[in-house]
């Protein structure tokens, strides 16, 4: 006899880029037994867990499948003594931060948005501004509990290959139910930020190489309209209580990031044009001082500036957009400038282009980060000739030992993917043990033949 079922709904799903929607049966995740029975009774379209839908491409959707909406499976608890947090997979980093920052703790790694789930952070093995020092999210996970392809619950730790296959495994090794990860102590909800403008790309890159190691957090924004590739580097560390006091901040742990605005629902596709993007890039560059040190910024402003504008992904209009994010070793740093130039040539206008240095990767076979550079550029999907330009860039990046981030990818070819993730077959072996019948499928796994 099967357990009573939570109401399912038929829904068109897309990633954050709002391209390539497919329709699935969405089931709110309530209880692991119910999820297990869905897994056991899955048809050929399979099952997938979805969090807050912030991956840009097709990672969190699966046409015709049963998709668990994990956001209803969201309890978590902090253990202050051991400085660990155990969360159900659907708990959002946003909710977690609102709870733990006032208590003097912070997540070990945060992406550019806090509107993501713990399950998603593990499945994509997210990285943040501290990757050069602290590695990716997976490096701070102690334990993962998941449902495998037979609907059986397992708990894995760093000694298990299944643990590492799940980190960066894009939800294809099972449904992550919960995880325990370390949190870090903080003395305030502020970051002391040093800001520098750099007049061209070489300047940006050499300043990052020289002094990134002095900071816990570092990132650069690049002006993609200016041919110089000028940029603004912001780096910082958690502010101490003393630094806050010196600046006259009294409530050190005040933390309540708010939504400033919501993007309008209907945006004409012409809103984003040469002039508006140029004006934005110019303004963004000018807004920052040539050089400023020790400025106190709130956590939200420093880490998640875009989260203040809800549904900002709508500004790209009905055709949607994609984010091209790649990684290359230091020896291929020239590909950063080359990519910016090619995107400019094809007319792929970007508001938001971010450059970051990665530290060493980890042992997860499908984890994205490796030592070197990573560049991420948002580009509208409707640009003529974009596909060919990106294919050419893919090949150059692959030839240098680099690769694309699966949480962002929405268009690379299966051959390019297989070529650039050399440990794919190791991962497949583990996956085949965990899910021999390939119950866990996504549009991403179909598109890339993962």
């Amino acid at each position: 006899m099967s357990a009573p079922r939570t109401a399912a709904r038929t829904e068109a799903l897309t990633g954050w880029g709002r391209t390539m929607s497919t329709v699935a049966t969405v089931v709110p995740a309530i209880h692991e037994n119910e999820m297990a029975s869905y897994i056991r009774e899955a048809n050929s379209r399979g099952v997938l867990a979805r969090g807050l839908g912030r991956s840009y491409g097709d990672a969190a959707q699966s046409g015709g499948a049963t998709v668990f909406d994990m956001t209803t499976y969201n309890n978590f608890s902090l253990d202050q003594a051991t400085m660990t947090l155990t969360a159900q997979a659907g708990a959002s980093i946003d909710d977690i931060l609102r709870e733990i920052v006032p208590l003097g703790f912070f997540v070990p790694v945060t992406a550019g948005t806090r509107i993501i789930t713990v399950g998603g952070a593990i499945a994509a093995d997210i990285h943040g501004k501290n990757h050069h020092r602290d590695g990716s999210f997976g490096a701070h996970v102690l334990e993962i509990t998941l449902l495998d392809g037979a609907g059986v619950v397992h708990t894995y730790t760093g000694n298990d290959p299944e643990f590492w296959a799940t980190i960066g495994g894009m939800g294809l090794t099972g449904v992550i139910l919960s995880a325990t990860f370390t949190v870090i102590p903080i003395q305030s909800s502020y970051i002391t930020v040093d800001t520098e403008r750099a007049k061209n790309l070489d300047d940006v890159m050499s300043r990052m190489i020289e002094r990134d190691h002095e900071y816990k957090y570092s990132v650069a924004w690049i002006d993609t309209v200016a041919t110089s590739g000028r940029g603004v580097i912001t780096r910082g560390d958690h502010a101490t209580a003393e630094q806050c006091m010196q600046d006259g901040v009294t409530n050190y742990f005040d933390y309540d990031p708010k939504n400033i605005a919501t993007a309008p629902g209907l945006v004409p596709s012409g809103l984003l044009n040469r002039w508006s993007v140029r004006a934005f890039n110019e303004g963004w560059y000018r807004k920052h001082p040539t050089h400023r040190t020790g400025e106190l910024q709130r956590l939200g402003a420093f880490f998640h500036p875009l989260d203040g504008v809800q549904e900002w992904n709508r500004i790209y209009g009905p055709k949607g957009f994609l984010q091209y994010q790649f990684q290359v070793p230091d020896s291929a740093g020239y590909l950063v400038g080359h990519t910016l130039q090619k995107l400019r040539e094809v007319g792929a206008l970007s508001f938001l282009t971010v450059l970051k240095r990665f530290g060493p990767g980890n042992q997860a076979p499908l984890s994205f980060p490796q030592s070197g550079w990573t560049l991420a550029a948002d580009v509208p999907a409707g640009v003529d000739g974009l596909g060919r330009t990106l294919d050419e860039l893919d090949a150059l990046i692959a030839a240098e030992g680099g690769r694309l981030y699966l949480a962002k990818d929405s268009r690379q070819s299966p051959t390019n993917f297989a070529r650039t993730y050399p440990r794919l077959n190791d991962w497949r072996e583990i996956r085949d043990r965990m899910d021999p019948n390939r119950v866990f499928t996504s549009d991403l796994s179909r598109r890339l033949a993962i």
């Binding site: 068109a12 391209t19 379209r45």
Partner: protein, 252 residues
């Protein structure tokens, strides 16, 4: 899967020797195609189509036996193609032009046109729709014709089969709303192909490559009906409301 730039990875053509369908495949980026199934009656032409596409470095080209008239076989053939892997794009391209004068003398010829063009399409179209709905995504391109917009003395048997097909496709598209699948109805005018090579050319005649370009562009835009060439939409809108006394006097 279709990617963020609208490029499909797998295409099924029903009527695998269709020049318009083959031109449409050639119009797509070759490095994205992983599987192209040309379904049709076994023939040298079908083999030649497979060879031609394969010679263009298109991966995974295969021929599958399919007879539009044998509607009992449609379900099984279509299921086995979809069971292997998702199909992003299906082009329903089979059809007979026939000969109006022969049809009037020998109604069995008219029945054959109706069977292939209408009955066969309804059968295959419903089986395809069922599978697209099941996979939650995909587009069915239906090659209709302006001949179905208003019946003409010179080819009304053919025209009526296309009119029926067109109405069927419109309804099917409505039925698929919200399932992730959709229908693109293509209404070409006179296209220079083997099927029409014996006929005098009409105004606004196009080549299969022109129609292919329009199909590919319309797929990316997510359109549901398109004329080829585009301006035929306005010509046909005019012809449809023309008083019959005048319409019948137009050159055929």
């Amino acid at each position: 899967m279709i990617d963020a730039l609208g490029e499909p990875q797998s295409v099924l053509v029903l009527g695998g020797t269709s020049e318009i369908a083959l031109a449409t495949i050639k119009e797509m980026p070759r490095n994205r195609l992983r599987r192209v199934v040309l379904a049709g009656r076994p023939s040298p032409a079908l083999n030649a189509a497979v060879t031609e596409l394969a010679s263009l470095n298109i991966a995974g080209v295969e021929a599958v036996d399919f007879d539009a008239k044998n509607t009992d076989s449609h379900g099984q053939i279509i299921d086995s193609i979809f069971d292997d892997a998702d199909v992003d794009l299906v082009i329903l391209a089979f059809g007979l032009l026939g000969d109006q004068m022969v049809a009037e003398e020998d109604p069995s010829h008219a029945v054959e046109l109706a069977t292939v063009n209408y009955t066969g399409s309804v059968s295959a179209g419903l089986h395809i729709a069922r599978r697209l709905k099941h996979q939650g995504h995909g587009t069915l391109v239906v090659l209709s014709s302006v001949a179905g917009d208003r019946a003409r003395r010179s080819n009304y048997v053919y025209g009526s089969t296309k009119a029926g097909l067109d109405a069927f496709a419109q309804g099917l598209d409505a039925a698929l709303a919200g399932t992730g699948a959709h229908v693109l109805i293509v209404r070409p005018g006179f296209v220079r192909t083997k099927m029409t090579s014996h006929l005098p050319e009409a105004p606004m005649t196009t080549n299969p490559e022109d129609v292919a370009e329009i199909i590919v562009a319309s797929l990316k835009k997510g359109r549901h009906t398109v004329y080829a060439p585009g301006p035929l939409r306005f010509v046909m809108a005019g012809l449809k409301v023309l008083p019959k006394q005048i319409f019948r006097k137009l050159p055929s």
